[in-house]
Amino acid sequence: MASANGSNGSGGSDESRGIGTKLRARSKKLGEQVGNSQVMNSIFRPGSIFRHGYTDSPRNRSYVVMNSVLYHLHPVKVKRHAVKVSYTLCLGGLSFFLFILLTVTGIFLMFFYRPTEALAWNNIQQLETAVWFGSMVRNMHRWGAHLMVLTVFLHMSRVFYHGAYKAPREFNWVIGVILLTLTLMLSFTGYLLPWDQLALWAVTVGTNMMGYTPVFGGQVRYALLGSKEISGDTLLRWYTLHVLLLPFVIVIFMAVHFWRVRKDGGISGPL
């Protein structure tokens, strides 16, 4: 086709190629300038994969972790068997990720929600109908929460079947059981917040059982409900538990949990 067009066509393509190469050179130069700028170099520490001129070398692979905030979570090197998906099924990591996802979606929901008897249910209705992505984010929060209960539970089962609770990891297992309990409590306190029939009666069934705690069952129930029966006081109480107290506590336990994983020698060995 180029030959058929003759000199005219080839001349035009030459010109456009000239502009193209110039543009490419210009943008490449600009990219280098930005990549090498003080700003970029101050943001990305040596070894960061986003830093200009990153090359794949054992040294840089170490730096990626060692020189970043990730070093708080991961060591530079891990056992080869530990990175096999078939060993951990990513369950612990996914539980943590779901916690983050729930925090993000939960913060979004907080913008539209008032924990009072008169307004809670209406706010959820408005969220569903009048807020952009409101329904979507609420769905994500709810399904994510159920999924997190499941992943935490499965993570515990995985750890048991691998015998990973044995010395020196006994105490981390205990922390894990506490984390499971906290996860259930977070899920349960969140269950009341929509203030619909489902929420009210599910929580009624649950808290009635707590009332049978020996000796101070009555006090336990009253402290949890803030009144004799479930009411607006309960809603406020459980809202505070759900968005502040329990997340605060669970984050502390998670920090210890992750820290102990490394201090106890990484995840447990192969079977």
Binding site: C90, N139, W143
Partner: protein, 283 residues
Amino acid sequence: MTELPDHLKKRAAERRAQLAKASGDAPEEATTDAATTDQPVAEVAAPVAEVAAPVAAAAEAGSGQITDDKGGVPAHLLERSRKRKAALAGGEGEEVSGGGVATAVKAAPIAAPTGTGPDGHTQRLLTVVKSGSIQQTRGEAVDKVHTWPHLLVVEFAATLACSAMVLIFSALVRAPLLGLADVNQTPNPSKAPWYFLGLQELLTMFHPMVAGVTIPGMGLFLLMIAPYVDKTTSNRPEDRKFAISVFTIFLMFWAVLVIIGSFFRGAGFNFVFPWNDGIFFEL
């Protein structure tokens, strides 16, 4: 056998090639070592032995007396100590030690250096170092890989997959929102969240204190003390038949209760079959 890291293999290959080249240069070595390329250790050892041999020969020739009966202490050191003793005992030591010894060993120790200590010591104790800190003690080699990219890529993929799953599921399935809460209108049946339905199921069999407090409390307590009760160290499934059986029964117990509570309980929390009466279950 564990897999050797690639960079170590590469280094070994390079070293092997280098040694093969060196042995090619020295023909007598190449002829003696039959399996040169397969035995790098032997090759490394050979030159060392060669270096050591002349030293021993020189020492033997110089001292004129073989000192193998002194517990393997090198001859030149014994010689030196003998001279030193003689020098301390008196001047005649010089003649005794004379003979044909004319090595570099002789020059240094005889006249006491100017910087000696009070008792003529030529050394001082600076510090005592624990053997562990200067001797290289190696633990068992663990086969490790870099967190980046091996672990982080997997984690990133897992989070993406999980996000996608939650996102798609949320786009397709709406979270339930029933009518406004009304304390005067009890739905039939009233069910707890699914993870507590096992407990609610227990309520049909036991006193509420047992079902709602004692059994779950005991369950949590048993879980927590499990590592302190199970003192076996092996984590191989064949060595843990009892622990695995107990835990599996524990899991199945709850799973069955939750499934019955979720799908097989209808109005009045009576037992129903979901294929006859429908499902009374909200997430």
